[in-house]
Protein backbone atom coordinates (compact mmCIF):
# COMPACT_ATOMS: atom_id res chain seq x y z
CA UNK A 1 0.00 0.00 0.00
CA UNK A 2 1.25 3.45 -0.92
CA UNK A 3 0.25 6.74 0.61
CA UNK A 4 -0.26 10.18 -0.81
CA UNK A 5 -0.11 13.04 1.71
CA UNK A 6 -1.51 16.45 1.01
CA UNK A 7 -0.48 19.42 3.15
CA UNK A 8 -3.04 21.52 1.37
CA UNK A 9 -6.36 21.94 3.17
CA UNK A 10 -9.38 20.26 1.62
CA UNK A 11 -12.63 22.19 1.72
CA UNK A 12 -15.56 19.86 2.22
CA UNK A 13 -19.17 20.00 0.99
CA UNK A 14 -20.26 20.80 4.55
CA UNK A 15 -18.17 23.96 4.45
CA UNK A 16 -15.67 22.57 6.96
CA UNK A 17 -12.02 22.10 6.11
CA UNK A 18 -9.56 19.26 6.63
CA UNK A 19 -6.18 20.92 7.31
CA UNK A 20 -4.34 18.04 5.61
CA UNK A 21 -5.19 14.53 4.47
CA UNK A 22 -3.73 11.21 3.35
CA UNK A 23 -5.02 8.86 0.68
CA UNK A 24 -3.95 5.20 0.67
CA UNK A 25 -3.68 3.63 -2.76
CA UNK A 26 -2.33 0.70 -4.72
CA UNK A 27 -1.35 0.51 -8.37
CA UNK A 28 -1.17 -2.43 -10.76
CA UNK A 29 0.38 -2.51 -14.23
CA UNK A 30 2.53 0.18 -15.82
CA UNK A 31 1.72 3.75 -16.78
CA UNK A 32 2.57 4.25 -20.46
CA UNK A 33 4.74 7.09 -21.79
CA UNK A 34 1.79 9.23 -22.84
CA UNK A 35 0.03 8.57 -19.50
CA UNK A 36 -3.10 7.62 -21.37
CA UNK A 37 -3.77 4.16 -19.94
CA UNK A 38 -4.68 4.93 -16.33
CA UNK A 39 -7.87 3.47 -14.86
CA UNK A 40 -9.18 4.52 -11.46
CA UNK A 41 -11.08 1.88 -9.49
CA UNK A 42 -13.53 3.13 -6.85
CA UNK A 43 -14.49 0.76 -4.06
CA UNK A 44 -17.75 0.24 -2.19
CA UNK A 45 -18.53 0.95 1.49
CA UNK A 46 -16.35 -1.69 3.14
CA UNK A 47 -13.59 -1.81 0.49
CA UNK A 48 -9.97 -0.79 0.53
CA UNK A 49 -7.22 0.06 -1.93
CA UNK A 50 -6.25 -3.58 -2.18
CA UNK A 51 -8.30 -4.41 -5.28
CA UNK A 52 -6.40 -7.39 -6.61
CA UNK A 53 -3.46 -9.78 -5.92
CA UNK A 54 -2.82 -11.41 -2.56
CA UNK A 55 -2.34 -8.98 0.30
CA UNK A 56 1.09 -9.77 1.73
CA UNK A 57 -0.01 -8.88 5.27
CA UNK A 58 -3.46 -10.44 5.53
CA UNK A 59 -3.01 -13.05 2.77
CA UNK A 60 -6.49 -12.09 1.57
CA UNK A 61 -7.20 -11.79 -2.14
CA UNK A 62 -8.13 -8.31 -3.40
CA UNK A 63 -11.84 -7.48 -3.46
CA UNK A 64 -11.99 -7.38 -7.28
CA UNK A 65 -9.47 -10.10 -8.04
CA UNK A 66 -11.92 -11.56 -10.58
CA UNK A 67 -11.91 -8.42 -12.68
CA UNK A 68 -8.43 -6.91 -12.39
CA UNK A 69 -5.15 -8.55 -13.39
CA UNK A 70 -3.08 -9.71 -16.34
CA UNK A 71 -5.41 -10.88 -19.11
CA UNK A 72 -8.50 -10.13 -17.01
CA UNK A 73 -11.31 -7.76 -18.15
CA UNK A 74 -9.47 -4.82 -16.57
CA UNK A 75 -6.18 -5.99 -18.02
CA UNK A 76 -3.11 -4.87 -16.08
CA UNK A 77 -0.92 -5.88 -19.06
CA UNK A 78 -2.61 -3.04 -20.92
CA UNK A 79 -3.77 -0.60 -18.24
CA UNK A 80 -2.26 1.16 -15.25
CA UNK A 81 -4.82 0.52 -12.55
CA UNK A 82 -5.05 2.88 -9.59
CA UNK A 83 -7.16 1.78 -6.66
CA UNK A 84 -7.50 4.33 -3.89
CA UNK A 85 -9.05 4.04 -0.45
CA UNK A 86 -11.75 6.70 0.00
CA UNK A 87 -11.43 9.69 2.25
CA UNK A 88 -13.16 8.86 5.53
CA UNK A 89 -12.29 5.17 5.40
CA UNK A 90 -10.30 3.21 7.98
CA UNK A 91 -7.90 1.51 5.56
CA UNK A 92 -5.12 4.05 5.42
CA UNK A 93 -6.83 7.22 4.17
CA UNK A 94 -7.68 10.05 6.53
CA UNK A 95 -10.84 9.28 8.45
CA UNK A 96 -12.32 9.07 11.96
CA UNK A 97 -9.51 6.80 13.19
CA UNK A 98 -6.82 9.24 12.02
CA UNK A 99 -5.05 11.71 14.29
CA UNK A 100 -6.43 15.21 14.31
CA UNK A 101 -3.33 17.40 13.78
CA UNK A 102 -4.89 20.12 15.91
CA UNK A 103 -5.54 18.00 19.02
CA UNK A 104 -3.00 15.21 18.40
CA UNK A 105 -5.73 12.76 19.36
CA UNK A 106 -7.92 10.59 17.10
CA UNK A 107 -10.80 12.34 15.38
CA UNK A 108 -13.49 9.79 16.15
CA UNK A 109 -16.83 11.60 15.90
CA UNK A 110 -15.16 15.02 15.66
CA UNK A 111 -14.22 14.11 12.08
CA UNK A 112 -16.25 16.30 9.73
CA UNK A 113 -19.09 14.67 7.82
CA UNK A 114 -17.94 13.94 4.27
CA UNK A 115 -19.72 13.40 0.98
CA UNK A 116 -19.06 11.39 -2.17
CA UNK A 117 -17.99 14.67 -3.79
CA UNK A 118 -15.37 15.16 -1.05
CA UNK A 119 -14.05 11.65 -1.69
CA UNK A 120 -13.73 12.43 -5.40
CA UNK A 121 -12.04 15.78 -4.76
CA UNK A 122 -9.45 14.03 -2.59
CA UNK A 123 -8.94 11.33 -5.25
CA UNK A 124 -8.44 14.05 -7.85
CA UNK A 125 -5.55 15.40 -5.77
CA UNK A 126 -4.02 11.93 -5.83
CA UNK A 127 -4.38 11.78 -9.62
CA UNK A 128 -2.75 15.25 -9.85
CA UNK A 129 0.08 13.97 -7.67
CA UNK A 130 0.53 10.96 -10.00
CA UNK A 131 0.81 13.56 -12.78
CA UNK A 132 -2.07 12.08 -14.78
CA UNK A 133 -4.28 14.57 -16.60
CA UNK A 134 -6.88 12.28 -18.11
CA UNK A 135 -8.08 8.95 -16.80
CA UNK A 136 -8.79 6.40 -19.52
CA UNK A 137 -11.57 5.10 -17.30
CA UNK A 138 -13.15 5.39 -13.88
CA UNK A 139 -14.92 2.24 -12.72
CA UNK A 140 -16.94 1.46 -9.63
CA UNK A 141 -19.87 -0.47 -8.20
CA UNK A 142 -22.34 0.61 -5.50
CA UNK A 143 -20.72 3.48 -3.55
CA UNK A 144 -17.90 3.17 -6.11
CA UNK A 145 -20.49 3.78 -8.84
CA UNK A 146 -21.55 6.98 -7.08
CA UNK A 147 -17.93 8.13 -7.08
CA UNK A 148 -17.67 7.28 -10.78
CA UNK A 149 -20.74 9.38 -11.56
CA UNK A 150 -19.34 12.23 -9.48
CA UNK A 151 -15.98 12.00 -11.28
CA UNK A 152 -17.62 12.29 -14.68
CA UNK A 153 -19.54 15.37 -13.51
CA UNK A 154 -16.92 17.16 -11.37
CA UNK A 155 -14.02 16.49 -13.74
CA UNK A 156 -15.67 16.15 -17.16
CA UNK A 157 -12.46 16.57 -19.11
CA UNK A 158 -10.46 14.10 -17.06
CA UNK A 159 -12.61 10.99 -17.65
CA UNK A 160 -12.76 9.24 -21.04
CA UNK A 161 -14.87 6.27 -20.04
CA UNK A 162 -17.06 5.74 -17.01
CA UNK A 163 -18.37 2.35 -15.90
CA UNK A 164 -21.10 2.66 -13.29
CA UNK A 165 -22.32 -0.62 -11.80
CA UNK A 166 -25.27 -1.19 -9.46
CA UNK A 167 -25.46 2.48 -8.49
CA UNK A 168 -27.96 5.33 -8.65
CA UNK A 169 -28.24 9.11 -8.78
CA UNK A 170 -29.64 8.98 -5.25
CA UNK A 171 -30.50 6.23 -2.77
CA UNK A 172 -34.14 5.25 -2.89
CA UNK A 173 -36.11 5.79 0.33
CA UNK A 174 -36.04 2.08 1.14
CA UNK A 175 -32.24 1.95 0.90
CA UNK A 176 -32.07 5.19 2.85
CA UNK A 177 -34.13 3.50 5.56
CA UNK A 178 -31.79 0.50 5.77
CA UNK A 179 -28.81 2.86 6.07
CA UNK A 180 -30.54 4.68 8.91
CA UNK A 181 -31.19 1.48 10.85
CA UNK A 182 -27.54 0.49 10.43
CA UNK A 183 -26.34 3.83 11.79
CA UNK A 184 -28.82 3.72 14.68
CA UNK A 185 -27.46 0.32 15.65
CA UNK A 186 -23.88 1.64 15.63
CA UNK A 187 -24.84 4.77 17.58
CA UNK A 188 -26.54 2.64 20.24
CA UNK A 189 -23.62 0.26 20.72
CA UNK A 190 -20.54 0.73 18.52
CA UNK A 191 -19.29 -2.85 18.63
CA UNK A 192 -22.45 -4.93 18.70
CA UNK A 193 -24.24 -2.30 16.63
CA UNK A 194 -21.66 -2.52 13.87
CA UNK A 195 -22.21 -6.25 13.75
CA UNK A 196 -25.97 -5.74 13.44
CA UNK A 197 -25.48 -3.07 10.78
CA UNK A 198 -23.39 -5.53 8.78
CA UNK A 199 -25.99 -8.25 9.20
CA UNK A 200 -28.65 -5.91 7.82
CA UNK A 201 -26.23 -4.94 5.06
CA UNK A 202 -25.72 -8.55 4.07
CA UNK A 203 -29.45 -9.11 3.76
CA UNK A 204 -29.75 -6.10 1.46
CA UNK A 205 -26.73 -7.09 -0.65
CA UNK A 206 -28.32 -10.42 -1.50
CA UNK A 207 -31.60 -11.45 -3.06
CA UNK A 208 -34.38 -13.52 -1.58
CA UNK A 209 -33.58 -16.15 -4.19
CA UNK A 210 -29.87 -16.35 -3.37
CA UNK A 211 -30.46 -16.57 0.38
CA UNK A 212 -33.14 -19.17 -0.31
CA UNK A 213 -30.90 -21.31 -2.47
CA UNK A 214 -27.93 -21.11 -0.15
CA UNK A 215 -29.59 -21.39 3.25
CA UNK A 216 -33.32 -21.88 2.92
CA UNK A 217 -34.80 -22.64 6.33
CA UNK A 218 -32.12 -25.19 7.12
CA UNK A 219 -31.12 -25.69 10.74
CA UNK A 220 -27.46 -25.44 11.56
CA UNK A 221 -26.92 -28.51 13.76
CA UNK A 222 -30.02 -29.91 15.36
CA UNK A 223 -32.67 -31.90 13.60
CA UNK A 224 -35.45 -30.00 15.33
CA UNK A 225 -36.08 -26.68 17.10
CA UNK A 226 -34.40 -26.23 20.47
CA UNK A 227 -37.11 -23.91 21.77
CA UNK A 228 -34.48 -21.40 22.90
CA UNK A 229 -32.89 -18.18 21.57
CA UNK A 230 -29.60 -19.72 20.50
CA UNK A 231 -28.40 -19.63 16.89
CA UNK A 232 -30.32 -22.34 15.08
CA UNK A 233 -30.99 -21.46 11.45
CA UNK A 234 -28.11 -21.54 8.97
CA UNK A 235 -28.95 -18.02 7.83
CA UNK A 236 -28.70 -16.84 11.47
CA UNK A 237 -25.30 -18.39 11.83
CA UNK A 238 -24.10 -16.97 8.52
CA UNK A 239 -25.21 -13.43 9.36
CA UNK A 240 -23.70 -13.59 12.83
CA UNK A 241 -20.42 -14.80 11.39
CA UNK A 242 -20.41 -11.98 8.83
CA UNK A 243 -21.26 -9.44 11.54
CA UNK A 244 -18.49 -10.57 13.87
CA UNK A 245 -15.94 -10.80 11.06
CA UNK A 246 -16.76 -7.23 10.11
CA UNK A 247 -16.34 -5.90 13.67
CA UNK A 248 -12.78 -7.26 13.63
CA UNK A 249 -11.87 -5.50 10.42
CA UNK A 250 -13.88 -2.28 10.34
CA UNK A 251 -14.20 0.84 12.50
CA UNK A 252 -17.69 1.64 13.80
CA UNK A 253 -17.34 5.41 13.39
CA UNK A 254 -16.08 4.97 9.84
CA UNK A 255 -19.24 3.02 9.09
CA UNK A 256 -21.32 6.00 10.22
CA UNK A 257 -19.42 8.40 7.99
CA UNK A 258 -19.45 6.29 4.84
CA UNK A 259 -23.08 5.30 5.31
CA UNK A 260 -24.00 8.97 5.72
CA UNK A 261 -22.02 9.93 2.62
CA UNK A 262 -24.08 7.45 0.60
CA UNK A 263 -27.33 8.69 2.10
CA UNK A 264 -26.44 12.28 1.24
CA UNK A 265 -25.47 11.50 -2.36
CA UNK A 266 -28.15 13.03 -4.56
CA UNK A 267 -27.32 14.34 -8.02
CA UNK A 268 -30.84 15.63 -8.50
CA UNK A 269 -30.79 17.71 -5.32
CA UNK A 270 -27.25 18.96 -5.92
CA UNK A 271 -27.63 19.91 -9.58
CA UNK A 272 -31.37 20.55 -9.88
CA UNK A 273 -31.95 17.68 -12.32
CA UNK A 274 -30.08 14.73 -13.78
CA UNK A 275 -29.89 16.55 -17.10
CA UNK A 276 -28.15 19.55 -15.61
CA UNK A 277 -25.90 17.23 -13.59
CA UNK A 278 -24.76 15.37 -16.70
CA UNK A 279 -24.68 18.27 -19.15
CA UNK A 280 -20.93 18.97 -18.77
CA UNK A 281 -19.97 15.27 -19.12
CA UNK A 282 -17.79 14.22 -22.02
CA UNK A 283 -17.15 10.62 -20.94
CA UNK A 284 -18.56 7.59 -22.68
CA UNK A 285 -20.74 5.76 -20.18
CA UNK A 286 -21.46 2.15 -19.51
CA UNK A 287 -24.24 1.88 -16.96
CA UNK A 288 -25.01 -1.58 -15.61
CA UNK A 289 -27.54 -2.85 -13.12
CA UNK A 290 -28.15 -6.31 -11.68
CA UNK A 291 -31.47 -8.02 -12.41
CA UNK A 292 -31.96 -9.19 -8.80
CA UNK A 293 -30.64 -6.04 -7.07
CA UNK A 294 -33.42 -4.51 -4.99
CA UNK A 295 -31.15 -2.13 -3.08
CA UNK A 296 -30.17 -0.27 -6.28
CA UNK A 297 -32.93 -1.43 -8.63
CA UNK A 298 -32.46 -1.39 -12.42
CA UNK A 299 -35.03 1.37 -12.73
CA UNK A 300 -32.56 3.78 -11.14
CA UNK A 301 -29.79 2.81 -13.56
CA UNK A 302 -32.19 3.21 -16.48
CA UNK A 303 -32.96 6.73 -15.27
CA UNK A 304 -29.24 7.52 -15.42
CA UNK A 305 -28.95 6.09 -18.93
CA UNK A 306 -32.08 7.83 -20.20
CA UNK A 307 -30.89 11.22 -18.97
CA UNK A 308 -27.60 10.72 -20.79
CA UNK A 309 -29.44 9.63 -23.95
CA UNK A 310 -31.61 12.73 -23.74
CA UNK A 311 -28.47 14.85 -23.66
CA UNK A 312 -27.07 13.03 -26.69
CA UNK A 313 -24.16 11.61 -24.68
CA UNK A 314 -22.58 8.29 -25.55
CA UNK A 315 -24.03 5.66 -23.23
CA UNK A 316 -24.74 1.97 -23.16
CA UNK A 317 -27.00 0.43 -20.57
CA UNK A 318 -27.52 -3.19 -19.66
CA UNK A 319 -29.07 -5.24 -16.92
CA UNK A 320 -26.78 -8.10 -15.92
CA UNK A 321 -28.69 -11.29 -15.41
CA UNK A 322 -27.76 -12.65 -11.98
CA UNK A 323 -29.75 -14.10 -9.09
CA UNK A 324 -27.33 -12.97 -6.37
CA UNK A 325 -28.57 -9.46 -5.68
CA UNK A 326 -26.62 -6.23 -5.27
CA UNK A 327 -23.31 -7.97 -4.50
CA UNK A 328 -23.35 -9.74 -7.88
CA UNK A 329 -20.91 -7.19 -9.26
CA UNK A 330 -18.25 -8.72 -7.01
CA UNK A 331 -19.01 -12.25 -8.20
CA UNK A 332 -18.17 -14.22 -11.29
CA UNK A 333 -20.32 -13.18 -14.26
CA UNK A 334 -19.47 -13.71 -17.92
CA UNK A 335 -21.87 -10.96 -18.93
CA UNK A 336 -20.30 -8.43 -16.59
CA UNK A 337 -16.75 -9.43 -17.55
CA UNK A 338 -17.45 -9.29 -21.28
CA UNK A 339 -19.24 -5.95 -21.04
CA UNK A 340 -16.35 -4.37 -19.12
CA UNK A 341 -13.65 -5.90 -21.32
CA UNK A 342 -15.33 -4.85 -24.56
CA UNK A 343 -16.29 -1.38 -23.37
CA UNK A 344 -12.69 -0.69 -22.35
CA UNK A 345 -11.41 -2.20 -25.60
CA UNK A 346 -13.81 -0.55 -28.02
CA UNK A 347 -12.40 2.32 -30.02
CA UNK A 348 -15.53 4.38 -30.55
Amino acid sequence: MKKFSSDQPLTLSSGKTLPSFKIAYDTYGTLNATKSNAILICHALSGDSHATNLNSETENPGWWQLMIGPGKPIDTDQFFVISSNVLGSCYGSTGPISTNPETQGPYHLSFPVITIEDMVNAQAKLIDYLDITTLFAVIGGSMGGMQTLQWSISHPNRVKKAIVIAAAAQLGPQSLAFNTVGREAVLTDPKHGLSIARMIGHITYRSDESIGTKFGRKLQENADYGYAFSTEFEIESYLKYQGEKFVNRFDANTYLYLSKAMSYFDLIKTYGSLESAFSPCTAQFLIMSISSDWLYPSKQSRELAKSLIKLNKTVSYCEIDSPHGHDSFLMESDQLSTMIRCFLGSKS
Partner: protein
Amino acid sequence: MKHYAQEQIITHVPLQSKVLDLGCGDGALLLKLNKIKKIKGYGIDILIENIVKCTEQGISVYHGDLNEGLPGFATHSYDIVILSQTLQQIEDPKMVLEEMLRVGQQGIVTFPNFAYWKVRLNLFLKGSAPKTKHLPYEWYNTPNIRVLSIADFKQLCHKLGIKIVKEIPIYTTSVQRQLFPKCLTNLFAPEGMFVIEKTASL
Protein backbone atom coordinates in the same frame (compact mmCIF):
# COMPACT_ATOMS: atom_id res chain seq x y z
CA MET B 1 -34.53 -12.84 -48.98
CA LYS B 2 -33.18 -11.67 -45.63
CA HIS B 3 -30.17 -10.49 -47.54
CA TYR B 4 -32.31 -8.58 -50.01
CA ALA B 5 -34.34 -6.95 -47.23
CA GLN B 6 -31.17 -5.83 -45.49
CA GLU B 7 -29.78 -4.51 -48.76
CA GLN B 8 -32.92 -2.45 -49.26
CA ILE B 9 -32.61 -0.94 -45.78
CA ILE B 10 -28.95 -0.11 -46.35
CA THR B 11 -29.75 1.48 -49.71
CA HIS B 12 -32.28 3.75 -48.14
CA VAL B 13 -30.14 4.97 -45.22
CA PRO B 14 -28.35 8.23 -46.11
CA LEU B 15 -24.57 8.52 -45.77
CA GLN B 16 -23.33 9.57 -42.31
CA SER B 17 -26.79 9.71 -40.87
CA LYS B 18 -27.80 9.02 -37.27
CA VAL B 19 -29.56 5.69 -37.08
CA LEU B 20 -31.52 4.11 -34.23
CA ASP B 21 -32.23 0.39 -34.61
CA LEU B 22 -35.15 -0.83 -32.50
CA GLY B 23 -34.75 -4.52 -31.75
CA CYS B 24 -31.21 -4.43 -33.11
CA GLY B 25 -30.42 -8.08 -32.30
CA ASP B 26 -26.71 -8.86 -32.40
CA GLY B 27 -25.99 -5.54 -34.13
CA ALA B 28 -25.26 -7.04 -37.58
CA LEU B 29 -27.32 -4.43 -39.45
CA LEU B 30 -25.84 -1.47 -37.56
CA LEU B 31 -22.37 -2.83 -38.16
CA LYS B 32 -23.01 -3.09 -41.92
CA LEU B 33 -24.54 0.39 -42.00
CA ASN B 34 -21.54 1.68 -40.13
CA LYS B 35 -19.19 0.09 -42.66
CA ILE B 36 -21.07 1.02 -45.83
CA LYS B 37 -22.85 4.25 -44.89
CA LYS B 38 -20.55 5.53 -42.10
CA ILE B 39 -23.54 6.05 -39.88
CA LYS B 40 -23.60 6.92 -36.19
CA GLY B 41 -25.69 4.06 -34.88
CA TYR B 42 -27.44 3.14 -31.67
CA GLY B 43 -29.32 -0.03 -30.83
CA ILE B 44 -32.04 -1.11 -28.43
CA ASP B 45 -32.68 -4.74 -27.63
CA ILE B 46 -34.47 -6.69 -24.93
CA LEU B 47 -32.08 -9.67 -24.76
CA ILE B 48 -28.94 -9.41 -22.64
CA GLU B 49 -27.14 -11.85 -24.99
CA ASN B 50 -27.66 -9.38 -27.84
CA ILE B 51 -26.51 -6.45 -25.70
CA VAL B 52 -23.27 -8.29 -24.94
CA LYS B 53 -22.76 -9.14 -28.64
CA CYS B 54 -23.33 -5.51 -29.69
CA THR B 55 -20.85 -4.29 -27.07
CA GLU B 56 -18.32 -6.82 -28.38
CA GLN B 57 -18.70 -5.15 -31.78
CA GLY B 58 -18.26 -1.70 -30.28
CA ILE B 59 -21.90 -0.70 -30.82
CA SER B 60 -23.57 1.45 -28.16
CA VAL B 61 -26.79 -0.11 -26.96
CA TYR B 62 -29.65 0.28 -24.52
CA HIS B 63 -31.00 -2.83 -22.87
CA GLY B 64 -34.71 -2.24 -22.72
CA ASP B 65 -38.26 -3.03 -23.72
CA LEU B 66 -39.82 -1.22 -26.70
CA ASN B 67 -43.20 -1.63 -25.06
CA GLU B 68 -42.13 1.18 -22.74
CA GLY B 69 -41.69 3.50 -25.73
CA LEU B 70 -38.61 5.67 -26.19
CA PRO B 71 -38.93 8.02 -23.19
CA GLY B 72 -35.25 8.96 -22.97
CA PHE B 73 -34.94 9.91 -26.63
CA ALA B 74 -35.32 13.51 -27.67
CA THR B 75 -37.72 14.45 -30.46
CA HIS B 76 -36.10 14.28 -33.91
CA SER B 77 -32.75 13.26 -32.46
CA TYR B 78 -32.25 10.62 -35.21
CA ASP B 79 -32.39 10.75 -39.01
CA ILE B 80 -33.59 7.18 -39.38
CA VAL B 81 -35.27 4.82 -36.95
CA ILE B 82 -35.36 1.17 -38.05
CA LEU B 83 -37.90 -1.38 -36.86
CA SER B 84 -36.89 -4.53 -38.67
CA GLN B 85 -38.93 -7.71 -38.09
CA THR B 86 -39.99 -6.42 -34.68
CA LEU B 87 -43.36 -4.70 -35.21
CA GLN B 88 -45.25 -8.00 -35.02
CA GLN B 89 -43.74 -8.74 -31.60
CA ILE B 90 -44.82 -5.51 -29.93
CA GLU B 91 -47.76 -5.13 -27.57
CA ASP B 92 -48.66 -1.63 -28.73
CA PRO B 93 -47.48 -1.22 -32.33
CA LYS B 94 -49.36 2.07 -32.71
CA MET B 95 -47.47 3.67 -29.83
CA VAL B 96 -44.12 2.37 -31.09
CA LEU B 97 -44.75 3.65 -34.63
CA GLU B 98 -45.63 7.07 -33.24
CA GLU B 99 -42.59 7.04 -30.97
CA MET B 100 -40.41 6.05 -33.95
CA LEU B 101 -41.54 9.04 -35.94
CA ARG B 102 -41.24 11.35 -32.96
CA VAL B 103 -37.59 10.42 -32.43
CA GLY B 104 -36.67 9.94 -36.10
CA GLN B 105 -37.23 12.04 -39.20
CA GLN B 106 -37.98 8.84 -41.09
CA GLY B 107 -38.76 5.27 -40.16
CA ILE B 108 -38.01 2.02 -41.94
CA VAL B 109 -40.33 -0.82 -40.97
CA THR B 110 -40.18 -4.44 -42.10
CA PHE B 111 -42.55 -7.21 -41.00
CA PRO B 112 -43.84 -10.62 -42.08
CA ASN B 113 -46.93 -10.39 -44.26
CA PHE B 114 -49.59 -12.64 -42.81
CA ALA B 115 -51.65 -12.33 -46.00
CA TYR B 116 -48.96 -14.12 -48.00
CA TRP B 117 -50.57 -16.82 -50.15
CA LYS B 118 -48.86 -19.69 -48.31
CA VAL B 119 -50.18 -18.40 -45.02
CA ARG B 120 -53.65 -18.10 -46.54
CA LEU B 121 -53.39 -21.64 -47.88
CA ASN B 122 -52.39 -22.94 -44.47
CA LEU B 123 -55.49 -21.44 -42.95
CA PHE B 124 -57.82 -22.26 -45.82
CA LEU B 125 -56.81 -25.82 -46.63
CA LYS B 126 -55.30 -27.15 -43.42
CA GLY B 127 -57.39 -25.01 -41.13
CA SER B 128 -54.34 -24.29 -38.99
CA ALA B 129 -52.54 -21.17 -37.84
CA PRO B 130 -49.81 -20.02 -40.23
CA LYS B 131 -46.52 -21.90 -40.20
CA THR B 132 -44.21 -21.27 -43.12
CA LYS B 133 -40.50 -20.95 -43.82
CA HIS B 134 -40.73 -17.31 -42.76
CA LEU B 135 -43.03 -17.99 -39.82
CA PRO B 136 -41.59 -21.18 -38.37
CA TYR B 137 -43.34 -21.01 -34.99
CA GLU B 138 -46.29 -22.88 -33.53
CA TRP B 139 -49.26 -20.75 -32.43
CA TYR B 140 -48.41 -21.43 -28.77
CA ASN B 141 -44.76 -20.36 -28.86
CA THR B 142 -44.64 -17.67 -31.50
CA PRO B 143 -43.16 -14.33 -30.47
CA ASN B 144 -45.28 -12.80 -33.24
CA ILE B 145 -48.22 -11.63 -31.20
CA ARG B 146 -49.52 -9.15 -33.79
CA VAL B 147 -50.86 -10.65 -36.99
CA LEU B 148 -50.81 -8.09 -39.79
CA SER B 149 -50.69 -7.89 -43.56
CA ILE B 150 -49.18 -5.36 -45.93
CA ALA B 151 -52.70 -4.01 -46.52
CA ASP B 152 -53.33 -3.72 -42.78
CA PHE B 153 -50.14 -1.77 -42.27
CA LYS B 154 -51.06 0.72 -44.99
CA GLN B 155 -54.45 1.19 -43.44
CA LEU B 156 -52.95 1.89 -40.01
CA CYS B 157 -50.54 4.42 -41.51
CA HIS B 158 -53.48 6.18 -43.11
CA LYS B 159 -55.35 6.22 -39.81
CA LEU B 160 -52.37 7.57 -37.87
CA GLY B 161 -51.55 10.23 -40.47
CA ILE B 162 -48.30 8.54 -41.37
CA LYS B 163 -47.03 9.18 -44.86
CA ILE B 164 -45.69 6.20 -46.80
CA VAL B 165 -42.63 7.51 -48.59
CA LYS B 166 -41.78 4.23 -50.22
CA GLU B 167 -43.10 0.70 -50.31
CA ILE B 168 -40.69 -2.13 -51.03
CA PRO B 169 -42.26 -5.57 -51.15
CA ILE B 170 -39.79 -8.30 -50.27
CA TYR B 171 -40.11 -11.34 -52.52
CA THR B 172 -38.40 -14.69 -52.22
CA THR B 173 -36.61 -14.44 -55.58
CA SER B 174 -35.59 -11.65 -57.92
CA VAL B 175 -37.76 -13.14 -60.72
CA GLN B 176 -40.84 -12.60 -58.58
CA ARG B 177 -39.76 -9.03 -58.01
CA GLN B 178 -39.95 -8.45 -61.77
CA LEU B 179 -43.05 -10.53 -62.26
CA PHE B 180 -45.65 -9.47 -59.72
CA PRO B 181 -47.53 -6.24 -60.21
CA LYS B 182 -47.76 -3.84 -57.30
CA CYS B 183 -51.41 -4.54 -56.66
CA LEU B 184 -50.64 -8.16 -55.79
CA THR B 185 -47.95 -7.59 -53.16
CA ASN B 186 -50.33 -8.34 -50.31
CA LEU B 187 -50.79 -11.83 -51.75
CA PHE B 188 -47.35 -12.67 -53.07
CA ALA B 189 -44.78 -10.91 -50.86
CA PRO B 190 -43.87 -12.80 -47.69
CA GLU B 191 -42.56 -9.60 -46.15
CA GLY B 192 -43.36 -5.93 -46.34
CA MET B 193 -41.00 -3.00 -46.10
CA PHE B 194 -42.02 0.62 -45.75
CA VAL B 195 -40.24 3.92 -45.46
CA ILE B 196 -42.51 6.19 -43.47
CA GLU B 197 -42.61 9.70 -42.06
CA LYS B 198 -44.98 11.94 -40.20
CA THR B 199 -47.37 13.88 -42.37
CA ALA B 200 -46.53 17.53 -41.92
CA SER B 201 -49.24 19.04 -39.79
CA LEU B 202 -51.14 21.82 -41.52
